[in-house]
């Protein structure tokens, strides 16, 4: 048997052969560009948007959506899809508006219980190998039902403290920008630069492999679902503070918007393939799109189609970028 070594294929050994540029172009680039372009267009159409007040007005309502997108991102990173996040946020909103003011300890316990329930849902999905789409769809009815039992029709009053916290602002930099940047940075560093972040992503991509490397896959799944629940609660908190009251149906639209946000943000449903910066940018894109269409003056009836169209456009661009990258690799 020959012991000759494999002939070195040029360009594959030694120093990192790939041009650093390609590795720098992550999946987050396209959504970030899209968000910037939309923002630029909005400023061009209404210069007022660029002022601190304008920024706050435009961005503040997006914060709960961005949190919802991040929550969805953790679930998608686990290789699952969460169709219940909207109702979950609605329940959080109701608890914060109704239970918390009446009984602070009880309210906090309730919120903690919600996080635990999400963790349990993750365990159920992981241990029994259930399809997340349907489990979370079923649970969405449960969250909604509980919220309606607590608050049969919208109402309640959110405490001043929470309202103040959510409306936090500084004279120089709008508070919303501080919050967005901070949260994005923390989550991105955790998920993309920490070792446990890699384990979490790995467990979404190939749970068996991660288990064999000596990690608990169940714990990773629970971790991802707990993170999703926490960001769901944060989203509910911001919604509560911004609206001042409770409404079980408040976040129903977040289900599809958050999924769209993650996908536009460069995530895939294959598990483990998500980008935090991309997801935040994706959330901004799907959130700002409505405002942009409104500024341009698209008729109300056409807005749904226009949003769908832009979504398609972003994904087409991504597909094209993907092809180009692949073509370049095979050269």
């Amino acid at each position: 048997m020959s012991t000759t070594t494999l002939p070195e294929a040029p360009g594959t050994t030694g120093r990192a052969a790939r041009p650093p540029l390609t590795s720098a172009i992550g999946p987050w680039l396209l959504p970030s560009l899209a968000a910037l372009i939309i923002f630029g267009l909005m400023i061009a159409l209404r210069p007022l948007v660029a002022s601190p007040t304008g920024l706050t007005l435009v961005l503040a309502p997006l914060i709960p959506l961005v949190f919802a997108v991040l929550a969805q991102m953790f679930v998608i990173a686990a290789g699952d899809i969460d169709l219940g996040i909207g109702s979950f946020i609605g329940l959080a909103n109701v608890v914060i508006a109704v239970v918390l003011p009446a009984n602070a300890a009880g309210g906090i316990l309730f919120l903690v219980g919600m996080v635990l329930a999400y963790a349990a849902m993750g365990v159920l999905i992981a241990v029994r190998g259930l399809p997340s789409i349907v489990v979370t769809l079923g649970m969405s009815f449960v969250w909604l039902g509980v919220a309606i039992l607590i608050l049969p029709t919208p109402g309640g009053t959110v405490s001043e403290g929470i309202v103040g916290f959510v409306r936090f602002n500084t004279p120089v930099v709008p508070g919303v920008i501080i919050v967005l940047t901070l949260v994005t940075a923390i989550v991105a560093v955790f998920l993309h630069r920490s070792k446990y972040g890699a384990v979490l992503r790995g467990s979404g991509s190939n749970p068996e492999g991660v288990r064999r490397a000596g990690w608990s896959v169940i714990r990773a799944k629970v971790g991802l679902y707990v993170l999703a629940a926490i960001f769901g609660l944060l989203s509910g908190l911001y919604l509560s503070g911004q609206t001042g009251g409770g409404d079980p149906y408040i976040a129903q639209s977040y289900v599809l918007l958050s999924i769209a946000g993650v996908i536009v943000g460069g995530g895939t449903f294959r598990g483990g393939e998500v980008s935090v910066v991309g997801a935040v940018a994706g959330g901004l894109v799907v959130g700002l799109l409505g405002s942009l269409l409104q500024f341009i003056g698209v008729q109300s009836s056409f807005q749904a189609a226009a949003q769908g169209l832009v979504l398609v456009l972003v994904l087409v661009l991504r597909a094209v970028a993907h092809w180009i990258r692949k073509a370049r690799r095979t050269l």
């Binding site: 899809i81 789409i133 769809l137 969405s140 919220a147 189609a305 169209l309 979504l311 994904l315 597909a319």
Partner: protein, 331 residues
């Protein structure tokens, strides 16, 4: 029709009996049938009257869901994360189109049905192009098509409104004795599609592509084409359901399809099909549709509050899933 038993029963030594009582009980559709019977009998027991009429009304109304659900089942079974979120929009648009063509005249029935099914199929082609050609995730691609359809419906329904043909309306509700004709047609449609799925080479391809697209490709099928065809079928079935539902209620309305978006997914899973694809159970879908249809009635006659109704519906879906056995695949 023989359906495969999914459990790996090892019987290398003794020849496997084809259909013993045990293997019938292990069929994935069994839980749905048991659930259906339980709920039906519970309604009868609580109301103390109308046992036969209840199931006959339930079967008529479930038939719409069965028809949409079959399309959804094909899309889910063909795998690749397949799911069709456009069905509700297809239903509504088809209802408007068909009723305009029918204009309350019986001679136009064929034309009306044709246009509805054709429009649905066309929508399916659009989804297929987005998903298979551009490579969008099905969840996003079908939703984008749905948004576009919604806009078309909104704009179009403002200018024209038609009424369903009386004969077709009659057909959806007529009975021979206690037997609802439309319900029987629904069962016939289910049987036909079960045969297509399990006993034709096309159906085998659907399941094969859903299990392992690459393996199916090396075994002589074209996965992209097969998957595309599933979306066309789904669109066509949704179109058919749309016109029939419009006929049932006399004419179209804007909210006609809304409740079918998630219900069509739920019945596929309740019926024992795999949400990850590769195994479709049409008989189970039928039972699941009747189950889901009767479930709200059960909740209504027990006078449960809206909140509890949601909770029970959601918990039931999760419970059925958690108790059902799961072979290898999962999402």
């Amino acid at each position: 029709m023989t359906t495969l038993d999914p459990t790996p029963t090892v019987s290398a030594d003794k020849p496997a009996p084809r259909a013993t009582a045990m293997s019938v009980l292990r069929h994935p559709a069994v839980p749905a049938f048991i659930g259906m019977l339980a709920i039906w009998l519970a309604i009868g027991a609580i109301a103390g009257r109308g046992l036969v009429e209840t199931i006959s009304a339930g079967i008529i109304i479930a038939t719409f869901l069965v028809i949409v659900g079959i399309g959804q089942l094909f899309v889910i079974t063909v795998g690749n994360g397949g799911i069709d979120l456009s069905v509700s929009y297809v239903m509504t648009l088809s209802a408007f189109l068909a009723c305009q063509i029918m204009a309350g005249q019986d001679v136009n029935i064929a034309a009306g049905i044709l246009i509805a099914v054709g429009a649905g199929a066309a929508a399916g082609v659009c989804s297929a192009v987005l998903i298979e050609l551009i490579g969008m995730p099905p969840l996003v691609g079908t939703l984008a098509v749905g948004f576009a359809l919604q806009t078309i419906t909104l704009v179009y329904s403002g200018s024209v409104v038609g009424v369903a043909s009386p004969a077709l309306s009659q057909f959806t509700t007529a009975q021979i004795g206690p037997i609802p004709i439309f319900g029987v047609v629904g069962i016939a449609i289910a049987v036909a599609f079960a045969l297509i799925l399990k006993r034709t080479s096309y159906g085998r391809r659907i399941e094969a592509v859903g299990q392992r697209p690459v393996a199916a490709s090396y075994a002589g099928t074209r996965p992209a084409l097969i998957r595309a065809s599933a979306y066309v079928i789904s669109g066509a079935m949704a179109g058919l359901a749309g016109v029939l539902l419009a006929a049932y209620s006399g004419g179209p309305s804007l909210g006609l399809g809304t409740s079918y978006q998630l219900a069509s997914i739920a019945v596929v899973v309740l019926g024992g099909s795999l949400i990850a694809g590769g195994r479709g159970i049409v008989s189970g879908l039928w039972a699941g549709a009747v189950l889901l249809t009767l479930l709200t009635t059960l909740a209504n006659i027990t006078r449960l509050s809206g909140g509890w109704q949601f909770i029970i519906q959601g918990a039931l879906i999760v419970l059925v899933l958690a108790l059902s056995r799961n072979p290898i695949a999962r999402r």
